[in-house]
């Protein structure tokens, strides 16, 4: 057994040349990598002393085999020092803050004493303040143009990006040798005031004299299928460095002219700079033969696919699956449909007990290829048996004993986590109950589309199987879909009816809906209803039930509720129970008495709705049950009745087109008049606008009025209770504007809120005269989708439509980045038991969570107590 120790802390510093030599297994002395036999050359970058790379070998340095050898650093002595690109800023500051002759910080001794004392007192308790102190000292020292210690006059030092320092004085260009000598002269004490810990970070170590050569394990070579060996980018770069270093040493030793030496020196600087960071501004990135830039040290760490974000914060996991999603209205909202093929790969470990041994034996007997089976067994010695390679499954099933673990296939009733990216809020990962189904897609209930923001145009989702009972319990209690019906964002249900559910609910609850006994039976059978059927609402000529009666069967007996329906607008508007249009919803003692159900009652993201209060007042289990049943009912009814949309729903007669033409003629005249006024300079300008802007605003106003009027005139010829209108009014899909655009006219197209004006000089398209600012020339589309668009109209419509696409593309990337930053800043905050919000460091962030200590999930629209609702709930009326 090795000794165990606790990590007390981590200290970062800069490697000194001595340290690099000390930790080095070998000096790298040659740029040759492999000899003619293909074996690594000793003293080359693939020297075997840098660690084992092939299994079975023994390490030349530590004697371990592949699994235990950690890899060993080598080192390369540079012929001339070079600047470390990562420390350029520090070197630049130090050169300016210290004396060119004596190397002292350019601040008088007494002040240094004072600052040092202050710094020592600050550094542990107030690190932020300490760093602003060192900043201040540094700035002060840089300003001094004469050394207070030796009186030497100082010169300005310039940094020529990326690594060249120039003194605007007698020294001229400061080559790295000179820089190093200068930094060596700075005394430890002066460095401390600048915030350095000279024991671990002497500034001269920022100038590289010895380069550490990382172990081969860090830069493994890959053997391609063709048998050719391909080296890692780092190895390539190291070979470049060594080769240049050799050449530089040779030319120095042979006394070559200084120009040649300097050229090679700069080349060495370039290679080492790009070896460390291949994305330094102003340095051409080193490229592979294919033209691809090399992935060197900094690139391995930085960015989304770098070590931190790609490997440490984000990892790939087992027991997960991903496939396309599709809808299944027959599932419960809590369920997820899992393809059999997936269920036979994902497993749940189950410990054998006397109570489940018979069942688990059956799984083992079925083996990995028959569902429901098992893929692995772990016996009580911890040995893992792969059932794929077992011939005699019967024998192994017999040998099962309590204490063994069977990794059985996923079965109905297992709990899994289901996720859709981008995981922007907590409802993006919810626990579902497995339903193993034929087919190759994951299936989910349509009511859970809003929290995942999922649709079925090819979306894929991920599924994870928790592997411990604790994880399963936690998933069931905290993450199950029904526990997330109410959103913490606004307290309303984020899970609820969408699209056809709204239309279906409206049609079923509409007062014209009367159902025969057969229909009632059909409807109730679809939800496995087993209670009594109420007395029919109509007794003769035949017994008939209203849709409201059927819906009432699902409501709790003491439930009271009233609210305007979504359809309550325009001439169907109702604000109280006296409603001729059936647009005011009233539920008393669990009976739906008046009004229709539509999006406002059962829709997703509708706070203070019927659905909201049902879930809030009767619990999440009831909410789930209600949605499973009611939603199935709505769909069954819409299936019975039939629901579609066709061209006749938006076709208008000839005389309607004449009316629209009248509108257009009228509007054209109005605009001509406006333009006339404008040209004569008689147009009344809008305050704060130029004359031209005022004209545009007025024209836009007139044109938007034109579209509305055309829409009104056209839609009055349509049946206001046809399927398209039902969808628009109940909030299922589409709006009256959409109907107008289909039936009457598209209206003015715009880009950035203005009429389309760009394109050619003085005109949008060559079909118009220059300077034409009439409606047609600036994107007014009088055609409709039914009538069809002319090519010019089609062009303007595309121009307007593109803006929307660009907007969404830009918005998602921007809000994604903002989300990332917010989450990074907030993820470690938590609400303590005393109601305060604190960071992990104990800092108080809020004295009371949200200033009121209230969880918005349990509010209605942010109000902790909704008095009106309480009265209504118990008394049955409000106001």
């Amino acid at each position: 057994m090795s000794e165990q120790k606790l990590i007390g802390g981590i200290k970062f510093g800069i490697l000194s040349p001595d340290m690099i030599r000390k930790m080095s297994a070998t000096a790298i002395v040659t740029s040759e990598v492999y000899d003619e036999n293909g074996l690594p050359v000793e003293g080359g970058v693939m020297d075997p002393r840098l660690g084992v790379i092939e299994p079975g070998q023994k390490c030349a340095t530590c004697g371990n085999t592949l699994a235990r050898c950690p890899g060993h650093f080598g080192h390369l002595e540079l012929a001339r020092p070079v600047i470390h690109i990562g420390f350029v800023r520090h070197i630049y500051d130090l050169l300016r803050a210290t004396c060119r002759r004596c190397g002292r910080l350019k601040i008088p001794d007494e002040e240094i004493d004072r600052y040092l004392d202050l710094y020592n007192r600050l550094k542990d308790k107030w690190p932020q303040l300490a760093s602003s102190l060192t900043d201040f000292v540094k700035r002060k020292a840089i300003k001094a143009m004469e050394c207070p210690h030796c009186g030497e006059k100082q010169f300005k030092i310039r940094l020529e990006k990326p690594t060249t320092f120039i003194e605007e004085g007698p020294l001229g260009r400061l080559w790295p040798t000179k820089v190093r000598e200068w930094l060596e002269r700075i005394p430890d004490r002066d460095l401390r005031v600048l915030g350095y810990d000279p024991e671990f970070a002497r500034p001269e170590w920022m100038v590289i004299t010895v380069l550490p050569v990382p172990p081969i394990a860090v830069r493994p070579s890959i053997l391609l299928e063709t048998g050719i060996r391909s080296e890692d980018d780092l190895t390539h770069k190291l070979v470049d460095i060594i080769r240049t270093n050799e050449k530089l040493r040779e030319s120095i030793n042979s006394g070559a002219p200084e120009v040649i030496v300097e050229d090679l020196w700069e080349l060495l600087q370039y290679h080492i700079t790009t070896y460390i960071d291949n994305e330094v501004p102003g340095v051409p990135p080193a490229k592979r033969r294919s033209g691809m830039p090399l992935r060197t040290l900094a690139q391995r760490l930085k960015g989304k696919e770098g070590r931190f974000r790609g490997n440490l914060s984000g990892k790939r996991v087992d027991f997960s699956a991903r496939t396309v999603i599709s809808p299944d209205p027959n599932l419960s909202i809590n369920e997820v449909g899992v393809p059999i093929e997936v269920a036979m790969i994902l497993t749940v470990p189950e410990r054998v007990t006397p109570w489940n041994i018979d069942e688990l034996r059956k799984y083992v007997l079925n083996g990995p290829y028959r569902y429901p089976g098992a893929n692995y067994i772990i016996d009580n010695t911890g040995r893992r048996i792969d059932l794929r390679f077992i011939k005699d499954l019967k024998a192994i099933a017999e040998s099962l004993k309590p204490g063994y673990i069977v990794e059985r296939h996923l079965i109905n009733g297992d709990i899994v986590l289901f996720n859709r990216q981008p995981s922007l809020h907590r409802m993006s990962i919810m626990a579902h109950i497995v339903r193993v189904l034929p087919g190759r897609t994951f299936r989910l209930h349509l009511a859970v589309c809003p929290p995942y923001n999922a649709d079925f145009d090819g979306d894929e989702m991920n599924l994870h199987v928790p592997q411990t009972i604790e994880a399963r319990a936690e998933a069931k209690i905290l993450l199950l879909v029904q526990e997330h019906i109410l959103s913490p964002r606004y307290g309303g249900p984020i899970i609820g009816g969408i699209q056809d559910y709204s239309s279906g609910a409206y049609l079923l609850s509409s007062k014209v809906t009367l159902l025969t006994k057969d229909q009632v039976s059909d409807l109730l059978a679809s939800i496995n209803y087993s209670g009594e059927i109420p007395e029919p609402a109509v007794l003769s000529p035949i017994k008939a039930w209203s849709g409201k009666q059927i819906i009432s069967l699902l409501l709790p007996e003491d439930f009271n509720f009233s609210k305007e329906a979504k359809i309550s607008s325009g001439n169907l508007k109702c604000t109280d129970e006296e409603c001729f249009w059936d647009s005011y919803l009233v539920v008393k003692r669990g009976k739906l008495l008046l009004g229709v159900l539509d999006k406002a009652a059962i829709g997703a993201q509708q706070p203070e709705s019927l659905l909201h209060f049902l879930v809030r007042e009767y619990g999440t289990s009831f909410g789930k049950e209600f949605m499973d049943k009611a939603f199935k009912l709505f769909l069954r009814f819409i299936e019975m009745r039939g629901f579609t949309m066709s061209i006749v729903d938006i076709m208008i007669p000839e005389e309607a087109y004449k009316e629209i033409e009248e509108v257009i003629v009228k509007v054209r005249k109005e605009i001509e008049h406006l333009i006339q006024l404008y040209k004569e300079g008689k147009l009344e300008p809008t305050p704060g606008r130029t004359l031209r802007e005022s004209l545009e605003i007025k024209i836009l106003e007139v044109l938007s009025r034109a579209r509305d009027e055309a829409g009104e005139r056209a839609t009055k010829y349509l049946d206001p209770f046809n399927n398209v209108f039902i969808m628009a009014k109940t909030g299922a899909r589409g709006s009256t504007l959409n109907i107008t655009q289909m039936a009457a006219m598209l209206g003015q197209q715009s880009v950035r809120g203005q009429r389309i004006h760009r394109g050619y000089r003085g005109r949008t398209l060559p079909h118009f005269k220059r300077g034409d600012i009439g409606p047609e020339a600036r994107g007014f589309v009088s055609g409709s989708f039914v009538k069809g668009l002319s090519p010019i109209e089609m062009f303007f419509h595309a121009a307007g439509g593109r803006e929307g696409l660009v907007d969404t593309a830009v918005r998602t990337s921007q809000s994604g980045y903002m989300q990332r930053r917010l989450i990074n800043a907030l993820q470690d905050l938590r609400v303590e038991y005393d109601g305060t919000v604190r960071s992990v460091y104990g800092h108080l962030i809020q004295f009371r969570y949200g200033e009121d200590g209230i969880d918005p999930k349990n509010t209605s629209f942010g109000k902790a107590v909704n008095v009106e609702r309480i009265i209504e709930k118990h008394v049955g009326w409000r106001k």
């Binding site: 107030w126 303040l129 460091y841 104990g842 800092h843 108080l844 004295f847 009371r848 200033e851």
Partner: protein, 82 residues
């Protein structure tokens, strides 16, 4: 401007009530919250309000402000140099 009347920021309707907490009370508050002073939110000594009420680094300030969610809320700030 005449410069006769100096504008008092405390008079502005958007500036909530600030006051320095007495040492005994500060101890009680810190104990109640279970924090060291530096774990409270900070306010700089150069903040105009801090100068106005004459608080010094190390002091604790009580701020009583209106809140859209609760009507009134009391929060504390720890004065730091700077």
């Amino acid at each position: 401007m005449s410069g006769k009347k100096k504008f008092k920021i405390m008079d502005h309707e958007l500036v909530p009530k600030h006051e320095v907490v007495k040492p005994e009370e500060a101890v009680r508050i810190l104990k109640e919250l279970g924090v060291r002073p530096e774990n409270l939110p900070w306010i700089r000594a150069s903040d105009p309000v801090v100068k106005e009420i004459g608080a010094k680094p190390g002091d604790i300030i009580r701020i009583e402000r209106r809140s859209p969610t609760t009507g009134k809320i009391i929060v504390y700030r720890f004065v730091v140099a700077g």
